[in-house]
Subunit: 319 residues, 2 copies
Amino acid sequence: MFLNKMVSEVNLFNKTGGGEIMFPAKSNEVFSDSLKSVSQEAGRQKNGKLWSNLKDVCELLRIQLSPNSSIASEESLFQHVQFKTGQRIHMIGQPFEMLYVVNSGFLKTVLIDELGNEQILSFPMKSDLLGVDGIHSKFYSSEAVALSACDLILIPFKKLTALGRTYPELENAMYSVMSRELVREQAMISMLGSLSAEGRVARFLVSLSDRFAQMGYSHRIFNLRMTRHEIGSYIGLTLETVSRTLSALHEIGWISVDQKTIEIKDIHALRNLRRLPNARTRAKDKSRAKTAEKTIIPATNLKHISSSEYYESGLRPTA
Amino acid sequence: MFLNKMVSEVNLFNKTGGGEIMFPAKSNEVFSDSLKSVSQEAGRQKNGKLWSNLKDVCELLRIQLSPNSSIASEESLFQHVQFKTGQRIHMIGQPFEMLYVVNSGFLKTVLIDELGNEQILSFPMKSDLLGVDGIHSKFYSSEAVALSACDLILIPFKKLTALGRTYPELENAMYSVMSRELVREQAMISMLGSLSAEGRVARFLVSLSDRFAQMGYSHRIFNLRMTRHEIGSYIGLTLETVSRTLSALHEIGWISVDQKTIEIKDIHALRNLRRLPNARTRAKDKSRAKTAEKTIIPATNLKHISSSEYYESGLRPTA
DNA sequence: CGCAGACTTGACAGTACTCAACCAAAGTGG
DNA sequence: CCACTTTGGTTGAGTACTGTCAAGTCTGCG
C-alpha cells in the first residue's frame, strides 16, 4: 500500500526510506516537521532487509494488472538496496545484469562521451526504471548517480525475462515500459529541437510538478534536487541561462525561486509557454494545413510580459 | 541472401524492390545505369506477393541467432507491403497493431505536437524497425512517411509476442532492439544538447555515411532523400542554417554538395568536428577529472578554417 | 573565520534565427 | 515548346537569444 496520498501541499523531498533527512537537509528544514511519520512506501522486512514481490514491483511501475492476475501469487522476492547521496548505482561500460526500480529518492543518469563531456539524460525518481540502456550491448551505456538517499529494487534481468515466460502479462508490461521510455525520449528530442530557453525551463518545471503530483507530493512547492548546471545539461542550456530564466519567471510572478526551492504560482502560464524561436518546426503538410489553420504562439520576449494573461488569452494565428 | 555487398562506390539510392527507379529519378540519373540488375534483398514470391520468414526478419534486424537456432525452422510468414513516395505508413493516434521492418527504401518519422509543429524523429532505412512507440499507449505516437518507394515487412505485434513465447531467443532480441533504439535516442539528445550547428550537420552526414556503408552502398557519395527543412527539423536547426553549413563544409573542401548529392571528401575531419558552443557539458566530476585531464576541442569558427589539418592535428587540452 | 561550491547578475560577443530576395528544377497548361 | 507556378535551395543583412567571461553573493562546512 502507498501512503503518499495522505500528504499534500507539503514538500516531501527530504524524506526517504528510513525517515532520515536527506542531503541537503538545510534547505528543506521548513518542511521537514510534518514528514517524520511517513514510512517506507513499498517493501517488507525480512532478515533485516527490504524485499518486494513481483506484484509490488508492477504496482510501483504503474503496470496495470488484471484483477485476478496470477502475478499476484508469484512468490519470488526482489531485494532493495540503499544508496547515499553521490553514490553511483552503475557506471558506463560496466557489465549489465540488473535493472533497478526506484522506490524512493532522486537520481540522475549521465552520458559521458569520448571527450569527457557529460550529458544528463534523466532525473529518475520513484516508479522509474533504470538500466534499460544496458540490455542491448550487455554493458551500461550511461551511469546513474544518487542525488539523494535512495531506495532501489534490484531486478536481475535474467530473472525478469524468465518470469516473463511464465507470465505473458509481465512480458507485455516490459515492452510497454520500454516503449513508454522511448516516447519520453522522443518528447525530449522534440523539446530540444524546438523550444527556446524559456520554454525549456518552463517545461522542465511543469514536468517536475506533474511528477510530484503523481507521487502524491506537492505540485506547487518543491525542492530541486539538482544543480543549475545539471538542469542546464538536461535541457541543453548553460547554467547561467537557467539561472537567468528562473529569475525572469520569478520576476513576472509565475514562480517563486529561492535557491533550490521552487514555488509554482501560475502553472497554466508555464504550460502554455512554448515560444518558438523560429518557424522551423511548423508543419507545412498540405493535407493537414488545409483542414485547419494551425495556430502558433508569436515570438515574444519573456522580459516584456508582465502577466500571464498574454498567453492565457489564447493563441493568435500567424499570417 | 543479401546482394548488397556486391556493389561499392555507387549510389544505390534510387533502387528499390522491383528495380524501378525511385522518385526523384532525375537527380540520380548519373548513377542509375549500374543498378538495374540488383534484385530484391530479402523475401520470396508467393501468390504474387513477397513474404519473409522469421529468420529473414531476424537477419534483416541484425539479430545474432545461435547457429542452430530453432527460429530457422519457424515457418510462419510475414507479408511485405510496398509504399510509394509520400505515402503514410501509419498516422498519429491510429490504433497500434503492427511493427514494420524496412526492407528497402527511405522514410521519415514525424512527431506533431498540439500546436501543429512537426519534428522529425528519425530517417528509417533498411534494417530499421518502425512503430515501437505505439506499444505503450496502443496508439502510434508518431507518423511514418515514405521518402522513396519502400518495401516494408509487416509484423503483427501480437503474433510477434506469441512467437517470443516459443522462442526465448526472439524475446531477448526484441528487448535488445528496443534498447538499441533507446541508446540511439540518448545519443541524439546528447547531440542536440551539446553540439554547434556545424557539429550537428557533420555528425548527420557521418551517420548517414556509416549507415550506407553498413548497407553496402557507397559511403563516399550519396543522395539525401530529405529536404533541408527536414534535416533541420531532425537536428534542431533552421533550413537556412543547414544550407549555409553545407555550403561552408563544401567551401573548405570536406564535402562536395550539389543539391541532394553529397560527396564526403574528408570523413575524418567531419568525425572530429564537434565544436562545443560552451563548457556546459564538460564533466567536472572530480573522481574522473583527477585520473585524466579531458581534452576539449577549442571553439573555432568553421569559416576561418581552410583545411582539415586543424582538426586532424589532434586535440588540444584546454586550460 | 575562511574556503569551496552553488548561484546570481552584468557586460559583451557570436552563433544561429528571421526576413527577404533570388535562383534552379520540375511540373502545368496553353 | 515555352511562359508560369510551385517547391526546394542558396545567400545576404540584420537581429536577438543565449553563450562566454567575470565579478560578486550566499550557504554550508571544516
